[in-house]
Amino acid sequence: MKIYAEENNGSLRLSFSGELDHHGAKGVMKTVENLLDEYLPRVCVIDLSELSFMDSSGIAVILRINKRMNGMGGKAWVENPSGQALRVIDASGIDRVIRVIVQTR
């Protein structure tokens, strides 16, 4: 599990790569909280294009980020989940609380 962060003009892009399960989720959450504290972004883009696996632990991470951003008066959304991650997102119905942008190509 790796996280890459890129800040641009108040927008923070968090790119997740590898597998996000319960084993990795604690470290992920801590890293993400620190990044949000450091940059205090207005927008947080959760880029899942490089994520090869995610389960409900990933759903909890996404919901936490969304809550944090809403609490700061900002916004978050999910971009480009891979096939498996998208199926998990669809099954959990979180697209009712956070925008999920799927690029068609």
């Binding site: 597998e19 399960d21 319960h22 084993h23 989720a25 604690k26 959450m29 696996f53 389960d55 409900s56 632990s57 759903i59 909890a60 919901l63 936490r64 096939g83 498996q84 199926r87 998990v88 099954a91 959990s92 119905g93 979180i94």
Partner: protein, 146 residues
């Protein structure tokens, strides 16, 4: 009948074993020639069931997780994940979407994901004696030309 087979294993309820369990079941299921989507669904369901044992069954403790994977009939994969932990007092409630006793770290979507990714999910539990989750999924047979 030539396909009937099973594996059994047990491992400790340490989170590092989550990816191991997914990979082991995936490797065994591969002989049914699943599509990549089917394989991903199976691994995701296993991840949910095993994570539940690690997170909920043995709070603050390490216990045993038993995993059995069977090929029943030619196209039917059955997975059982069993723990000897605290048990689930109200199974019906536990299976409801968003129900969790895990607080902010959990989303309460584990059973919902298992149910939508597998054909059948059966849960048995006894307070103080443990929980067993049996899930099955039919893998359509395809005709490879090579």
């Amino acid at each position: 009948m030539e396909n009937l087979d099973y594996i059994k294993m047990e491992f400790l309820s340490k989170s590092v074993n989550e990816s191991f369990a997914r990979a082991a079941v995936g490797a065994f299921a591969a002989r049914l020639d699943p599509t990549l989507d089917e394989l991903a669904d199976i691994k995701t369901a296993v991840s949910e069931a095993v994570t539940n044992c690690i997170v909920h069954a043995y709070p603050g403790d390490i216990g045993l997780i038993r995993l059995r994977v069977r090929i029943l009939e030619r196209e039917l994969l059955e997975i059982t994940v069993k723990d000897g932990g605290v048990g689930i007092p109200d199974i019906k409630k536990a299976r409801e979407p968003m129900y969790t006793t895990g607080g902010d770290d959990r989303s309460g979507m584990g059973f919902t994901i298992m149910e939508s990714f597998m054909d059948k999910v059966r849960v048995r539990s006894a307070a103080g004696r443990g929980t067993s989750v049996t899930m099955s999924r039919r893998i359509r047979r395809r005709k490879p030309r090579l």
